[in-house]
């Protein structure tokens, strides 16, 4: 984490970084820029990346457990496409630029993600249960619809086209402490809830029937897990954009190394995700300074080959 704070396109010597962190030499005028950079840009960004990485990997691991599918990721049941649609709607409606207005796009993205997941959930309910395959199918269908609607809006927009594309490619342009304050409560609530679901996820690995016979209230826990994971994912997507691979790869790697017990896998995924995304973010800042690469590209470039390598090396079945 210190590394993330110390590195950026503006070179600040490590000693200075530490001094700023521990508030010595506060009055020094020349340091005010460094102070601003460190406290207003780097530290919040570091925290945001940690939160987002934790949210994506934690949700990804929960979804893989819930759907008993190694390809499940936080976007499976529509969170990403819903967020995109919400953001584009907010952008094309042209909210006034009041203070609240600056939060409108992430808020809309968040609401879009949550509503989409609720829709998928509602559509898949069959009586009292929500069978897994139906959820996945509904998720695919609703996602496609949301994406198509987004494209339609983009085509028919005027000046907002660029802003909308900017959001879809790179995520929110909010920087500083604002996105952290916006995302943190939801991510923390979601992750804390998920952490308490470790045992339930273990039980669910044996299928709905066995889980029920063992005394687990399957619909309740399934709902809780989906809501908690969606909350965390939606908050992450709303403020950092759609970053792929974190939610898919990190849980797999953790499972490969430390086994499939969700009481361990969830916290490990959370920590692993935070580290992975932070590392990717550091790379995105230094590789082509002063240009910054979108983090999603780094995660894909780094994550995919690493994962393939891991698959080849591990002889034992790890699922």
């Amino acid at each position: 984490m210190l590394l993330s704070i110390a590195i950026g396109s503006v070179v600040i010597p490590l000693k200075t970084v530490l001094q700023v962190l521990f508030n010595s030499r506060v009055g020094d005028a020349g340091f005010s820029t460094f102070t601003t950079i460190i406290w207003e840009l780097r530290i919040p960004r570091t925290i945001l990346m940690i939160l987002a990485g934790a949210a994506l990997a934690g949700s990804g691991s929960a979804y893989q457990g819930l759907f008993r599918n190694p390809l499940a990721d936080p976007y499976l049941i529509g969170a990403a496409s819903g967020a995109g649609l919400g953001a584009v709607i907010a952008i094309t409606i042209h909210w006034p630029g009041s203070v609240f207005g600056f939060f409108v796009v992430p808020l809309a993205a968040f609401i879009g993600a949550v509503l989409t997941v609720l829709l998928v959930f509602g559509v898949s309910r069959a009586g009292k249960t929500t069978p897994v395959t139906t959820l996945i199918l509904a998720g695919v269908a609703v996602s496609s619809f949301a994406t198509a609607l987004t494209s339609f809006l983009l085509i028919n927009s005027s000046g907002e086209l660029r802003r909308a594309l900017v959001w879809l490619m790179g995520g929110s342009t909010l920087s500083g402490w604002m996105p952290v304050l916006g995302a943190a409560p939801y991510i923390l609530i979601g992750l804390v809830t998920l952490l308490s679901m470790g045992h339930a996820l273990n039980v669910l690995q044996f299928g709905d029937e066995q889980a029920r016979q063992l005394g687990l209230r399957v619909p309740l826990f399934r709902t809780l897990i989906i809501l908690a994971a969606t909350l965390a994912t939606a908050a992450a997507v709303a403020f950092t954009g759609i970053i792929g691979f974190v939610g898919l790869i990190v849980p797999h790697v953790m499972r490969n190394l430390w086994g499939g017990d969700y009481r361990r896998l969830l916290p490990l995924s959370i920590i692993g995700g935070a580290t992975f995304l932070l590392a990717a973010d550091i790379l995105s800042r230094i590789l082509l300074a002063p240009q910054e690469l979108p983090v999603g590209i780094i995660t894909a470039l780094a994550g995919a080959p690493f994962f393939l390598l891991l698959l080849r090396k591990s002889k034992q079945q790890y699922w």
């Binding site: 396109s9 503006v10 820029t33 796009v105 005027s158 000046g159 802003r163 342009t173 240009q291």
Partner: protein, 313 residues
């Protein structure tokens, strides 16, 4: 036309340097005509107070960079976005990056700007983030006609302390525009124009629609943009519609990206267009129309010359 522009610029700059009473500073000198402080409303409807002309300006919009140089404030710039490449001097200014709407905020902070000029491509969220870092931002909406562009030039002049130069420049540009209007008023026909922005899919090329600067300028140049009847700003027109409209001229705004009239003649279905058959497919420097600074006049004059060459012997 360009020479006049450059000459006036040089005159202005030289005057700024040479006239007594000016303090040469690391940044170019400042002349004030209006009493400060004043309040200006920016494009996001915020009231910005100007107490001193900005000395350390970062522009994150290429047209605004051009405007700054045009009014003589180029030397007061300390940063610019990656796409600000005109005039050539702009490239020497520190690059603050551009990655899908996000700039390198650390570099921005480190440059200690006292003003950031932003155009419509910048999101309000980014403006808020900059303000949160204690940086003053002035946001300017894209102009839809020449008068709005003149107003922007004047604003840029006020912000950078070059009111006089800005006013002078605006007058010069207005003169050029009126001269053009006189000529155009005498035309007997208004040829139809198809302005191509992008034809990656030749059956559905992109063209400027209604209420865009393009349509306005084409009209001032004595033509009619066939895209004007489409309701959105950057629509795709179908090849069928294009064939029905059969414009007299085709301007290739994507010439800067490699499209040539030769390529157009090979596109399926395009051979039946009159403009293609009679060789009226012309490459056009889109930067003269999309970078909405003083060069718009260059663009306007180029359009008029192409449409009504008989008036510009």
């Amino acid at each position: 036309m360009k020479k006049i522009f450059w000459k006036s610029l040089i005159v202005v700059l030289t005057a700024a340097l040479v006239l007594p009473g000016c303090q040469p500073k690391p940044a170019k000198s400042i002349q004030q005509a209006e009493p400060l402080p004043i309040n200006l409303t920016d494009g996001l409807e915020r009231s910005i107070t100007i107490t001193n002309p900005a000395q350390r300006i970062i522009s994150i919009s290429p047209p605004l960079t051009e405007m700054l140089f045009a009014v003589g404030a180029g030397g007061q710039m300390v940063g610019r976005d990656s796409y600000s490449d005109y005039p050539a001097e702009a490239k020497k200014i520190t690059d603050v990056g551009w990655t899908y709407g996000k700039y390198n905020l650390e570099t921005v902070v480190n440059l200690k700007p006292d003003l950031v000029l932003a155009g419509e491509i910048t999101t309000p969220e980014l403006v808020a983030s900059l303000e949160n870092l204690g940086i003053k931002v002035f946001y300017l909406n894209n102009p839809t006609n020449l008068d709005e562009m003149y107003a922007m030039l004047k604003t840029v002049g006020v912000l950078s302390g070059h009111n006089t130069e800005a006013d002078t420049l605006v007058k010069t540009l207005q003169q050029r525009a009126s001269a053009l209007q006189e000529k155009i008023a005498k035309v007997t026909s208004r040829p139809t124009v198809f302005y191509e922005l992008d034809a990656t899919d030749p059956s559905k090329p992109y063209t400027p629609g209604s209420a865009t600067l393009y349509t306005n300028l084409i009209s001032l140049a004595g033509g009619e943009n066939i895209g004007a009847k489409l309701t959105t700003a950057w629509p795709q027109i179908s090849l069928e519609q294009l064939l029905v409209d059969d414009p007299t001229y085709i301007f290739l705004g994507d010439a800067n990206y490699g499209t040539t009239p030769e390529i157009v003649t090979h596109r399926a279905g395009w051979q039946s267009l009159t403009a293609v058959k009679e060789g009226r497919v012309l490459p056009f420097d889109d930067n003269l129309l999309v970078r909405y600074g003083p060069r718009l006049l260059d663009g306007l004059e180029a359009l008029a010359k192409a449409l009504h060459p008989e008036f510009f012997k």
